[in-house]
């Protein structure tokens, strides 16, 4: 019997929890159909999350793509289908990749090794730097810090996930949302071992009174503890948190059954830590950077 996971009409970070909740009720080896027919909007978090979902399954799941032509076209431009074809059995045909959407600053891009991180950084620096400068009102040289942050996040996948992951960067006009301005969303997601398993052998784990996904996230993201013992590790998240804070951004990381928001800007009222969520493998980092406010 095939279990059906219904993808919500809008698929960003909060709505992806609905997907995970549905998944939690399905045995790991069960046949799965991910039904995205009625999905009308998906962010980098949603698209990379769907790829991670497929990677987490023992049996290749089926995928019903969105019915709406514009949505299918966007997912194709985002390179979602080209990667999904390797992980899902897609029911029906999907459009081939089309170019011409400058809101996609970086399509869904696999990250498996240092060369892939080089590719991600090069694409942002060479193709999207001017858009970032315009969208976020960044100083041209500040795009370097953006790329550094992206690089650190992608490097974490290589160093800690135990397998590959996905990166995507997208621009949005959120002038009608609470933040009230344009934003850029970066998602780096993987279906690997997650923070708790990654830090299992760390000294922090050895001295911890309790050990679960929430503690592991605080240990890794906030305290900057790495599974590698050599001094100087943990620089990545320190830099990412510093950048998010500096640019009034919002940073969240989900892993296993917990989610941490170490940087919550004034334009958002998320909870700093959530535990007891439905389990999902790996780690999913989401960073939203709003346009710089003009100084009065």
């Amino acid at each position: 019997m095939t279990a059906v996971i219904t993808v919500p009409a809008s698929l960003d970070e909060p709505q992806f929890e609905q997907v995970i909740d549905q998944l939690a009720a399905v045995p790991a080896d069960a046949k799965l159909l991910v039904d995205a027919r009625h999905c009308r909007f998906a962010t980098p978090y949603g698209l990379t999350g769907l790829l991670c979902l497929a990677q987490s399954r023992l049996e290749r799941p089926d995928f019903a793509p969105p019915e709406d032509d514009d949505v299918r076209s966007y997912w194709a431009r985002s390179q979602f289908f080209s990667h999904a074809e390797g992980l899902y059995t897609i029911r029906g045909s999907v459009p081939r990749r089309q170019g011409g959407n400058s809101d996609v600053l970086l399509e869904v891009t696999p990250v498996r090794d240092s060369g892939d991180v080089q590719t991600v950084v090069a694409r942002i620096q060479e193709q999207a730097a001017h858009i970032l400068t315009r969208t976020l009102d960044l100083e041209p040289r500040a795009t370097m810090l953006f790329s550094m942050t992206l690089s650190e996040a992608a490097s974490n996948v290589i160093e800690h996930a135990g397998g590959g992951g996905w990166v995507m960067v997208q621009r949005y006009d959120w002038s009608k949302r609470r933040v009230g301005r344009e934003v850029v969303q970066i998602t780096v997601a993987d279906a690997g071992m997650g923070f708790r398993r990654s830090l299992e052998g760390s000294r922090a784990r050895a001295v911890a009174d309790r050990w679960d996904d929430a503690v592991a996230l605080e240990t890794g993201v906030v305290q900057g503890v790495s599974r590698f013992g050599d001094p100087g590790r943990g620089q990545g998240f320190k830099g990412i948190r510093g950048y998010a804070s500096k640019v009034d951004g919002k940073l969240t990381v989900r892993s296993g059954t917990a989610r941490i928001a170490p940087i919550i800007p004034p334009w958002d009222d998320d909870r700093a830590l959530r535990s007891g969520l439905a389990p999902f493998p790996g780690a999913q980092m989401n960073l939203v950077i709003p346009r710089r406010l003009a100084t009065p």
């Binding site: 240092s114 950084v121 090069a122 370097m144 690089s151 490097s155 290589i158």
Partner: protein, 183 residues
């Protein structure tokens, strides 16, 4: 003084032109390559690492490359020889390099585009003032002591530490700067 063009070194280590120093594996590869070049230099030579052709440098790579390059040279029992000065840095590079140097308690001399030099990383106010006095030409211990308001013995101790950390060079009974004014 000898200059190491990091863009060329990066291309050599990667086997293809690359513009960015990102990820730990890339940092480790470039460090090994640079270490081989430094090991081949005559004792006391100042090596200038030129970042001019490098685009993005992330902290993980900076830690693996710059910090681990200097750790065996700046410690109390150095296991490697050689002096290092950085050049061609932009603000993004400096952000990453200062962060990793401070994490390890290290410091380095950076040469600015106008040829002047400054210290980056973990240095005390006194160390920085002393170092700056040496950079503007003060050489005699008494002269330095008067400039920074310390006892001669304390100045001597501080200078020893700066030499041990390879931020100054010993010359006879005194000290001289690295970088622009190094011989």
């Amino acid at each position: 003084m000898t200059t190491v063009d990091l863009a060329s070194a990066l291309a050599a280590s990667a086997g293809a032109p690359q513009a960015h120093l990102v990820t730990r594996p890339v940092g480790a590869a470039i460090r090994l390559l640079v270490e081989r070049q430094l090991d081949a230099l005559a004792a006391g030579t100042v090596a200038v690492l030129d970042f001019s052709g490098i685009g993005v440098l992330d902290r993980s790579c900076a830690d693996e490359f710059v910090a681990k390059l200097m750790l065996p040279r700046e410690g109390p029992m150095p296991t490697r020889d050689g002096y290092v000065v950085l050049r061609g840095l932009h603000d993004g590079h400096l952000d990453a390099i200062e962060a990793v140097l401070e994490t390890h308690g290290l410091a380095l001399v950076v040469q600015l585009p106008d040829g002047s030099t400054r210290l980056v990383g973990a240095v005390t106010v006194t160390e920085r003032r002393l170092w700056e006095q040496v950079m503007v030409g003060a050489a005699a211990i008494e002269e330095l002591a008067a400039a920074v308001g310390l006892a001669v013995e304390e100045v001597h101790t501080q200078l020893e530490a700066l030499v041990r950390r390879r931020l100054l060079r010993r010359a006879g009974s005194g000290v001289v700067p690295l970088g622009a004014h190094a011989a």
